[in-house]
Symmetry: C2
Subunit: 401 residues, 2 copies
């Protein structure tokens, strides 16, 4: 009988279990508040923190990832939070409800930091983003990151480039005082949004193979180097269909898919996880921001010969547009003409739609010739007769000719 340390079981669309008691009725033991201390892969058993020993035939590792912390003084003070799991969210929410928060500092400028800046501004809190780099969200082209900085400013979020925290201490007027490489600042709330790191402690302790990325190696069935052990989610690697390499990409939808495949294989109905193309998106105020495939640097590293272009257009037909704006960057391989990656940003709706289409194109390994004539559901309300995708592909083909 399998042991689950966690979540929810659904029967079709009906939720059948949410609490350990409800799970028990479905024949599943759920153990909460009791972590796994060690695995004995030889004997096929795990040791819980309360000392109990549980035998297993098949073990699924979903140890996830931990928030990265800069290891500095004061990062455990009340009012300093990481952004990793539901508990973090609940803690931040209580803090916001209990205290008067006038000013918040977000350390980090990835897409979680961007989303948080919007959430905090919507609560009327003065918000500052500290970014190590000159621009936020490194994955996107500088032309797009600059538009994000403008959007932050338009919404009264202060963006501090080249700024790193050095230490945090209790404040006087404000709850906290943070020293940075550029001086000191007050805040009632500090959010550490510096990314995450795979949690592979248990895996490494029993010698499971990890990949170049440091995350657990799995095969297409989500099986690790140990036949009885599967791994899914933010602790393991995933196959990138564009680079044809295993990589680390800890995103929620990927974890969901891997879990389904592992479950299928364990349950005796074989399946493979076909990999990803690296599609991702976020919203910050009025901007949609999305990307898929490889960046130019990643493409070079994988041996491709990337050429790229950026075009600016409209997400809907010119006759219907007001303040909309859409940018698309395409990256293609010069010798083969194959699409390698794409990035998009839009004021208003539009970027995610394009990136999703280009993700399907990447999945299928399309070249620019195909993309330049793709048949899309044209209506002036939803796009021009020539979509920005077509125009971008045709532009890049001219550049490569």
């Amino acid at each position: 009988m399998p042991y689950y340390i966690g979540d929810v079981i659904k029967d079709k669309n009906r939720l059948v279990a949410r609490t350990p008691e409800e799970f028990k009725k479905t024949g599943v033991d759920v153990i909460l508040g009791n972590g796994v201390e060690a695995i004995d892969a030889e004997k096929g058993q795990v040791k819980l923190s309360d000392g109990a020993i549980l035998p297993y035939d098949i073990l699924v590792m979903g140890t996830g990832a931990d928030a990265i912390l800069p290891e500095m003084a004061g990062q455990d003070l009340p009012g300093v939070y990481t952004l990793r799991n539901l508990t973090d969210g609940l803690r931040i929410k209580s803090y916001l409800n209990e205290k008067v928060i006038r000013k918040a500092a977000i350390v980090g400028a990835g897409f979680i930091a961007m989303e948080m800046s919007e959430a905090l501004r919507n609560l009327g809190i003065e918000t500052v983003v500290l970014s190590r780099s000159p621009l936020p969200v490194a994955r996107w082209d500088a032309a797009f990151s600059k538009m994000i900085v403008e959007e932050l400013h338009k919404n009264q979020v202060t963006f501090l480039p080249g700024t790193k925290p050095v230490a945090i201490e209790k404040g006087k007027d404000f709850a906290l005082r943070m020293t940075t490489n550029c001086g000191e600042m007050d805040a009632d709330l500090i959010l550490m949004a510096l990314g995450i790191k795979r949690n592979v402690k248990l895996a490494e302790a029993i010698g499971l193979k990890t990949g170049e990325s440091g995350a657990i190696q799995v095969n297409f069935a989500q099986r690790t180097s140990c036949e009885e052990i599967y791994a899914v989610g933010d602790c393991c690697e995933v196959f990138n269909r564009v680079s044809q390499k295993w990589m680390y990409l800890p995103l929620g939808d990927i974890a969901n898919k891997q879990g389904r495949i592992a479950g299928q294989n364990i349950g005796g109905s074989p399946g493979i996880f076909p990999g990803v193309v690296g599609a991702q998106s976020f919203k910050v105020f009025n901007l949609e921001v999305a990307a898929t495939g490889l960046t130019e640097a990643e493409a070079l590293k994988s041996g491709f010969h990337p050429v790229s272009n950026i075009i600016w257009g409209l997400p809907i037909a010119r006759s219907m547009a007001k303040d909309e704006k859409l940018g698309i960057k395409l990256i293609a391989d010069k010798p083969s003409g194959k699409l390698l990656g794409a990035q998009s940003i839009s004021a208003g709706e539009g970027a995610v739609k394009r990136i999703n289409m280009l993700s399907v194109a990447l999945w299928a390994g399309m070249d620019l010739t195909d993309i330049s004539y793709l048949d899309l559901a044209y209506s002036p309300t939803f796009g021009g007769a020539w979509d920005p995708i077509h125009i971008a592909a045709q532009g890049l083909m001219r550049k490569m000719a």
Copy 2:
């Protein structure tokens, strides 16, 4: 030197000509208000309605299509309009501005009729749609058409199923009086939205080959059966990549693409038009409606063994959704598992996005296994971790198993 009877020339993104005088400066003669009466393909010349003879080396036919009229008494009365071209639009607009329009009747229930019903209701005009069939927009599954009828009712548009016009005459209280198979009705404005028919008179007169659809046959370079004559747009056929057959699909974005390819080939830079998958969309009030690929009937006719399913879900993540609703119908071939077509409807944004992704999937010839794990740009604002596309594909695979 080529002769253009028409439009606009652009140099990169700069508009260089809009009027005949402006075109002249670019070296192009534009002749307006003077139609082509006859073509002499042997001599390579066309005869204009004013009697002038123009020689050509290459001729491009863009004779388009005409609005279908039911041939009944009174269809030429003032206040009765077809919906075909810019002139129709301008005429309707003047009529709306000059007269007090209390009630409008739209004859036909295709997607142009749906769009017009919204436009007229937004002007506060009482609007009635007369539909020969029990439901509007025959291309879409009845489950979706029914949702459209509800949306029409919600917006005070009267939908009359099984209703055909018989005759129109001048009215007393209202400008017009229309007799139908179900009785009489008053209206100040009657719009004939019964679809269009390719205009192939000139083509047939010189013996150009037409296809099974009755439209002009072209090859992948947009060349007709006569080497010096090309055809583009609503007068010619287009290759359907899913059925692998030539068909008639008069849509604006397709015409644009064909024009570009014809121009390229004529200009000495060879290119082919890679065909279509049949993507189309429209908006009616708060609904997005879109479809791509084949219907079940078309799939059967093409020799496939179609199986289909419909799922209802949410266009964005459950935690973010309010009144949104999304339906997807997938049609796949049982022996091969290949996607053949898809239809979608959404209350609020969502249907077009999905149909565009599935159009790219159809373009690439994907099967349901691929579609059930496509990597999309997940963010709760834009969709669930499992997109309705995944859920629909997985559901149809279970049905086919």
